[in-house]
């Protein structure tokens, strides 16, 4: 147990260190330092034509923001702020990045959790059905559909849905923008829930498809793997029906590799969201990173990198945890070796 946590902690530190150093250096070396970019903005945060500030004031500002110091010192300062949960102030919006994150994180978590739950409760049964009818027509259909879903870029799905259901020349079934209608406040509570769900549906669907196909495929192949094991042959030869051998013996064991993959879906809460949130204008973390990049909003970009590395490592921790929970034969120390 102890060895496991030490190993994971080392991995966490190195990953976080690697990703933040790369992004920090990358951002600091760009033509036009972050500070100069900041100074070119007017009060509303728009990029101005020329820096309207004297050399002397600029020097003072550089000192204030530590730009007179070498890069490794600045990185240390940034790290120090990070430990105190201070992500700095957004250049574009002139308010603490932490506040912006607080607004965006619940949105992304709602979509991310939905996609994980859908993968769990639809993907796994789908994979089971395909495996149960292996080699037959149903298996063939499910497998081809899953490969199709898995290999379709999510932006194509989203755009086709938007075009045909979003009120162009075709059907006008779903809202196309944001999380709620403009008249949200005036609606009754049932109306508000309906409005939220209505807005949630299309982007939520796009969020789910990839993970659903991935988990279903894994479940199918892991169940087929289990069906070939010796203990299934033993169970069948001692007279157990195929049905109960399948459900009681193979199914339980087949869940082990699948469930642990759910941990791998956690980073998708941010990474998978950028394109979908851009298409449907969903104010989540993905859109925040996109806007941060467009605006060269360095504190926001650094915050996003930090959060997404944390999510990746959280995913690994959860995967390990699930592994130990679903498979009593495995201990934390063995997982740490992997």
């Amino acid at each position: 147990m102890r060895a496991y946590f030490i190993r994971r902690l080392v991995l966490l530190v190195f990953t976080l260190f690697g990703i933040t150093v790369i992004s920090f250096v990358m951002l600091q070396l760009t033509p036009g330092s972050p500070l100069e970019l900041k100074m070119q903005r007017d009060n509303r945060g728009a990029l101005g034509e020329q820096s309207a500030i004297s050399e002397e004031a600029m020097e003072n500002l550089k000192r204030l923001y530590h730009f007179d110091k070498p890069i490794h010192v600045r990185y240390g300062l940034w790290l120090n702020d990070l430990i105190h949960l201070d992500f700095g102030k957004s250049f574009a919006e002139h308010r603490p990045v932490l506040d912006m994150l607080k607004e965006r994180i619940p949105v992304s978590i709602a979509f991310g959790l939905t996609s994980i739950l859908v993968a769990l409760f639809i993907g796994i049964p789908l994979g089971m059905i395909a495996a149960a009818y292996q080699g037959r027509f149903i298996d063939y259909c499910v497998s081809v559909i899953l490969i199709a879903l898995y290999s379709t870029p999510v932006y194509v799905v989203a755009l086709v849905l938007l075009t045909f259901l979003g009120g162009g020349d075709f059907l006008d079934l779903f809202p196309i923008y944001g999380l709620k209608s403009d008249d949200y406040e005036t609606l009754s509570w049932a109306g508000q829930i309906w409005d939220r769900a209505h807005h949630f549906f299309l982007p939520g669907l796009c969020y789910c498809l990839g993970g659903l196909a991935f988990i279903a495929q894994q479940q199918r192949s892991s169940l087929l793997d289990c069906m070939r094991q010796d203990y299934i042959r033993t169970a069948l030869s001692k007279g157990l029906s195929e049905r109960s051998a399948f459900l009681k013996h193979a199914f339980r064991n087949s869940l082990i590799p699948t469930v642990t993959l759910l941990g791998g879906m956690i980073p998708g809460i941010l990474g998978g969201g950028i394109i979908i949130e851009r298409i449907f204008s969903i104010p989540g973390l993905g859109l925040l990173s996109y806007e941060g990049l467009l605006n060269r909003d360095y504190p926001v970009i650094m915050a996003n990198f930090t959060i997404s590395s944390f999510l990746v490592l959280l995913g690994i921790f959860i995967a390990d945890f699930l592994y130990v929970v679903v498979d009593p034969r495995i201990t934390f120390d063995e997982r740490g070796e992997g």
């Binding site: 991995l11 990953t15 790369i22 290999s151 379709t152 938007l162 394109i275």
Partner: protein
Amino acid sequence: MWRRLSWVGRVSGILLALFVFMALFAPWIAGDSKNPEDWLPLIKFGPESADIFTSPFLAAPDSAHLFGTDYIGRDVFARVVHATKNSLLFSVAVMIASVIIGTLVGAVMGFFAGRLDMILSRIIEVISNFPIFLLQLTFLAIFGSNYFILFFVMIFSNWISYARYTRAEFFRLRNLEFVQAARVLGSSRSRIIFRHLLPNSLTPILVLIPFDLASTIIGLGGLSFLGFGEPIHVASFGELLNQAREHFQRAWWLAVFPGGALFLLTLSLALFGAAVRDMLDPRLGK
């Protein structure tokens, strides 16, 4: 080969061959021609050709423009053909570079094992935990989108799966008799690696290639869709689909045809890859 392939594999293989054909002969399929009497190119519009006085903007598909026109009057069919060419060529280049880097690193790890393997394994572990898409976007946003940087960011983590497979194969093979025999006979290290181990560990790498191509094409499309990928004037799926996003209420053809072509391309790669994998790997046989 062909006779052992399943029918899904055959259909997707033919579809894939059509896409490759389209990519190779793109200039003769759709291009500007000075003389309207020539029968080549088949479609008389290039991906860039648009005359602001004569070409209709966002025109629905008709007999002249099979897939309609985009927001500045360029022929969507021509752009789809050339987008296929661009993304296929680019992803093949990325794949080749990734295969070379990945197999070399994997071979070194698997052959020398020990401490070197441990250090490289940790580095790979750390890199594969990076939020790659965000990192790619940031690189491109800061250094500008050109093919050189795009190539670099696409390879950045792409070689890792090849390295993993090669390493695993080397570990499986390194103590087998034919390798020991080569060692005893005094073969040099490089001879053992390149003559004995590498040729025997190619199957998983070959199986990975179609899936890798599909994911590179999808990733490239995503980057271009957000405006950070291929240069803006180049015909690309991402650029066409971004137009579809802007004009989704009036121009369904911008979503349907480029999206459909991209879907068929990645689908045929994935189905073909799955069929080839089932054919090469008897353990998965029915």
